[in-house]
Amino acid sequence: MRLGEKPKLIDENGRRIDGRLPDELRPIRMEVGVLKNADGSAYVEYGNTKVIVAVYGPREIHPKHLTLPDRAIIRCRYHMTSFSTTERKSPAPTRREIELSKVIREALEGVIFTELYPRTSIDIFIEVLQADGGTRTAGITAASLALADAGIPMKDLVAGVAVGKVDGVLVLDINEVEDEYSEVDLPVAMMPSFKEITLLQMNGVLTEDEFWEALKLAEKGIMKIYEVQRETLMSRYSKVRAEVEE
């Protein structure tokens, strides 16, 4: 919690501290194929939150004893650069980063057809370049793009967003200030084509009715993010087509 006075987070016109309406996403930007060495890569921005992801694999596992005979293992690392936060963060992994690495891995593992690649590993490396709320969900969105960019078969893309409750109002895609004063933080990730939830955490208190309302709000955001993901993946191919086919 921040010391000092809590700012007014919803104004008299119902607008949020950055001018958005409660159900509005921040500007979303995405790019795929941004790194040369990686098998798949992506860069995602949710407003001022900036995340880059590399995927390597399926590839041979070192050390060998981690191998599974019937499917690929997923290794996932969520990490924040030391300059991504207001106060410098030590580069060594924190307990928070270790937990988030696990929930993100589990949010993606059920989506990937790991049984196609027994005895291999698919490695997902998430680096938060600038943190302004929603880094784990932006990380998942970027990771699923990077997996698709690597050509790894999966059931669907995964898109994520966090819903919060500020000044008693449910708001979509909370930024850092809202997160700090939020009564609730509810990050959600889904396979949008199937409406199946792959990540769900909650920090705070909601009535059941409010929970369902919050989930609906998250879904609304996720469907929009999914559209941008699909466009981003296809645009570079359709661009080449347009260039050469006339």
């Binding site: 930007r29 590839r59 990490h79 650069t81 300059f83 207001t86 410098r88 680096e127 570079r236």
Partner: protein, 297 residues
């Protein structure tokens, strides 16, 4: 303990032979001349939340640097100076051969070379970063991450680091009667810089010297020398690496190459200085390059 490295990458003999036979004709696999640097991109201000930042690309080698500023106690031997801490991280995004973990000897060596190049010439005026002499000073954290490793990560790290320092704004502080210091991040002044510094790395393969080795060349070099050059043309740091040796003639040529190329690197630092570049714009549309300019052989 430092152990002879066993590279995870196998260089095909056909490619190695081609590199060597091209070097005999004073040319390189990617068409460069021996003393020719790859294309340089410097994008400052990519992380607005940090006190200073920059992304640098040399060919496809990519490094991102960010500066965070805090308040702490000075070192006992320099009570009237701020503190500069340089840290380099090889994150596993950058290459299939990298694993997560604390900085290894390569990352630590790079961080220390950069630190020395900045410190000895007093590139940053640390004496202006004192809040209460002997008690409270500014701590400048320069953190550099390698995002894509295509050879010569040292020069890319130095370039990103220097560009980030040039982009850095120092927040004001308030001191109360109990000498408590509060940082006011909204009010800033530029980081006091005395000199700009760049490094130029030169590799020796057989009896040939090449500037700015790419990854294929990096993997077969006998020895490397990194030369720090300041904006007034002085040598501000040296680091020899690898098991091979340099003759006096080699060093003369290496210094000549370093001075020539430092001009290009220093110019790249100036080009976009003072502007804020969006990461989106420097990271995009890499795919075409990846396929069409793909390493041949």
């Amino acid at each position: 303990m430092s152990i002879t490295p066993t590279s995870g990458r196998i260089i095909p003999r056909l490619r190695r032979d081609t590199i060597l036979s091209l070097l005999e004709k004073d040319t390189r696999l990617d068409g460069r001349k021996l003393n020719e640097y790859r294309e340089i991109v410097v994008a400052p201000g990519v992380i607005p939340k940090s006190e200073g930042s920059a992304l640098a690309r040399i060919g496809s080698t990519t490094a991102i640097a960010g500066v965070k500023i805090g308040v702490g106690t000075p070192f006992p031997d320099t009570p009237n100076e701020g503190v500069l801490t340089v840290n380099v991280e090889f994150v596993p995004l950058a290459s299939p051969t990298l694993e997560p973990g604390p900085p290894d000897e390569n990352a630590i060596e790079i961080a220390r070379v950069i630190d020395r190049c900045l410190r000895e010439i007093r590139a940053i005026d640390l004496s202006k970063l004192v809040i209460i002499p002997g008690e409270k000073v500014y701590i400048i954290w320069l953190d550099i991450y390698i995002l894509d490793h295509d050879g010569n990560v040292l020069d890319a790290s130095m370039l990103a680091g220097m560009a980030a320092l040039l982009d850095t704004r120092v927040p004001k502080v308030e001191i109360d009667e109990k000498k408590n210091v509060r940082i006011i991040r909204d009010e800033t002044t530029p980081l006091p810089i005395n000199h700009k510094v760049v490094t130029v790395s030169i590799a020796k393969i057989g009896n040939k010297l090449i500037v700015d080795p790419n990854l294929d060349e990096d993997d077969i070099v006998d020895a490397k020398i990194t030369i720090g050059i300041s904006d007034d043309g002085r040598i501000v740091g040296l680091q020899k690496a690898g098991p091979g040796v340099f003759t006096y003639d080699d060093l003369r040529l290496a210094i000549k190459y370093a001075k020539e190329n430092s001009v290009k690197l220093l110019r790249a630092l100036e080009e976009k200085k003072g502007t804020k570049i969006s990461l989106n714009s420097v990271l995009k549309s890499y795919v075409e390059e990846k396929i069409l300019k793909h390493q041949i052989i």
